[in-house]
């Protein structure tokens, strides 16, 4: 930050839509991109007299997250109504948790600028999502808004951090770490484009050395890392400028315009912060026993930070490689399996980060979508090791496996790509190459060692790259030295 008179204080509220089959309090399907208002019923429409019932899987998922984020779990957790009017909220209140949320006092450890940082989690709770508002686009009538309630009542996990983050970059690192954990424990798709993983950011500045918080502003509902980073960077500068000029920050909700790169106040819900929470009378409390928490804890998969560490120690791979390979759980699983099957972690990581990632990127696929299984990849590595194919041939086999899903061994057999390691066959080709390139052969005999490279190239060309290069080298030398 350009101005060093202030310390930046940031807290994030992260929202993750849980990937349950049905909604939080009714049995409507959770679906993205379906026709508007085709996934609703009297419960999620907020009709009078209906009775919400808690989705057991949503609760289980939320518990899993609370445990993974090191929270204390409420032994008796309950729901509350948050009251406000907005057209995307059919009931006039949102069922959320205030007085006895699922988890409290957790923390997330993450790597930032080469150090482990810890951000405390104030609370983690379950709530229902609101519907979606569409403006004008539906009919072209600019005086109307349009409401789609498919998303209303979809289970939403809210993770509220303490204001422990000290820069926009650190906030993003924390957000990424939380996303990784949520993906690892498999409770949300975390699809940011579809809005199933988003965040609100609170930011304030205070004089360095001060323990009091300055007035904060809130940036709403961001679903991209870059967007939040740009918004926080802008807001950090804006607040510093106001404070420098002796001005005052107003507590308000801001919208960030990506095109202009500026924030502006959101004209909205007046008196919005008087939510008059009260206990939700339609839902009974949920007790969670220490046994259940322990069961969830032991069933948690290895989390990204632990896995990264294990990759470095167990597989002897560099930190940055481990970082890459644990970016998603699927990627980490893939590498884990390939490394074990091939018994060659280094080759496995090279292939995954190099050629395979290249193929995935150009096809716009994720590692879990490819036909190239860890079995395939380890087989390919094995084929090189046993000398059946060269590394170069392997590079041409991989795209074929990627396309067809056939095993590399089968591919090599079908295309006759196996390396020629039969010395008499290689000799025949070498004799021919020497005859056709007598000039170069003479150069080698005259001591111009470099000329042998050309002859090796000719042999490889004649055999379409299939000759075992070491053998070619060796036989060529013998022939040219003895004659």
């Amino acid at each position: 930050m350009s101005n060093s008179n202030y310390e930046t204080v940031i807290g994030l509220e992260i929202h993750a839509e849980l990937n349950t089959r049905s909604k939080l309090f009714c049995n409507c399907e959770v679906a993205f991109g379906t026709d508007a208002n085709t996934r609703t019923c009297p419960i999620c429409l907020g009709m009078p007299g209906v009775l919400p019932v808690l989705n057991e899987r949503a609760f289980e998922f939320a518990l899993r997250a609370a445990v993974a984020l090191n929270c204390e779990i409420s032994p008796a957790c309950s729901f509350d109504r948050k009251n406000y009017f907005y057209p995307d909220l059919p009931k006039g209140y949102q069922i959320s948790q205030k007085y006895a949320p699922l988890g409290r006092n957790g923390y997330v450890d993450f790597e930032f600028e080469g150090e482990t940082h810890r951000t405390r989690v104030h609370q983690i709770h379950l709530e229902e999502d609101a519907g979606k508002l569409v403006h004008a686009d539906v009919t072209g009538n600019v005086n109307r808004s349009y409401v789609d309630l498919n998303r209303a009542c979809v289970p939403l996990l809210e993770i509220v951090s303490e204001p422990d983050l000290r820069s926009p970059d650190e906030a993003i690192a924390y957000w990424r770490a939380v996303k990784e954990i949520i993906e690892y424990i498999d409770i949300s798709d975390c699809n940011m484009e579809e809005g199933s993983f988003r965040c609100d950011a609170n930011i304030s500045l205070r004089p360095i050395g001060s323990n009091e918080f300055g007035t904060r502003t809130e940036l709403k509902n961001k679903n991209s890392f870059q967007h939040v980073l740009a918004a926080l960077n802008y807001e950090e500068k804006r607040q510093a400028r106001i404070l420098d000029e002796g001005g005052e920050i107003h507590q308000e909700t801001l919208l960030f315009d990506l095109d202009t790169g500026r924030t502006s106040p959101m004209r909205s819900k007046e008196e919005a912060h008087d939510y008059r929470y009260f206990p939700e009378p339609d839902l009974v409390r949920t007790n969670v026993s220490p046994d259940r928490i322990e069961k969830i804890r032991t069933a948690l998969p290895e989390l990204p930070a632990a896995r990264r560490e294990r990759f470095v120690t167990e597989f002897q791979i560099p930190e940055y490689v481990a970082e890459f390979l644990t970016a998603t759980r699927q990627m980490a699983d893939y590498f884990d399996e390939t490394a074990r099957l091939s018994n060659d972690p280094k080759a496995s990581s090279n292939w995954i980060m190099g050629d395979l990632s290249g193929l995935l990127n150009s096809a716009g696929l994720q590692i879990q979508d490819t036909e190239v299984t860890p079995i395939h990849l380890s087989e390919l590595i094995g084929l090189i090791k046993e000398g059946t194919i060269s590394g170069k041939i392997a590079k041409s086999v991989l795209p074929e496996v990627f396309e067809t899903g056939k095993s590399p061994r089968q591919m090599v057999e079908e295309k006759g790509l196996a390396q020629i390691s039969d010395s008499s066959a290689i000799e025949t080709v070498i004799d021919q190459v020497i005859a056709e390139n007598s000039g170069s052969a003479q150069d080698v005999r005259d001591g111009k060692k470099k000329a042998i490279g050309f002859l090796v190239g000719q042999v490889m060309r004649a055999t379409k790259g299939k000759a075992n290069p070491q053998m070619v080298n060796q036989i060529l030398r013998q022939k040219l030295e003895s004659s």
């Binding site: 049905s22 049995n27 399907e29 609703t40 403006h135 539906v138 109307r144 808004s145 349009y146």
Partner: protein, 96 residues
Amino acid sequence: MSTITPEEVEHVANLARLEFNEEEIAEFTHQLGRILDYIGKLNELDTTDVPPTSHVLPLHNVQKADDAHPSYDRAVVLDTAPSAEEGYFEVPKVIE
């Protein structure tokens, strides 16, 4: 003695999108005050040995299986709305 002020009544009315004239505010201040006083009687009770109650029903952990069932027909759903267009509920413009 009233336990609620006319300002509080106005504030709550505003949150509930209700509009009252001065006479009504005075009336509701009086009525709500009486209700609060009446409920306030509970504070006289000694609850030292009574465990906190979050819910009146002797039930807990009531949950449903995570199964998706068919939703309501959209035409039926939208038919309940004052105004609908192109499969959406139509509302006065919301400024964001």
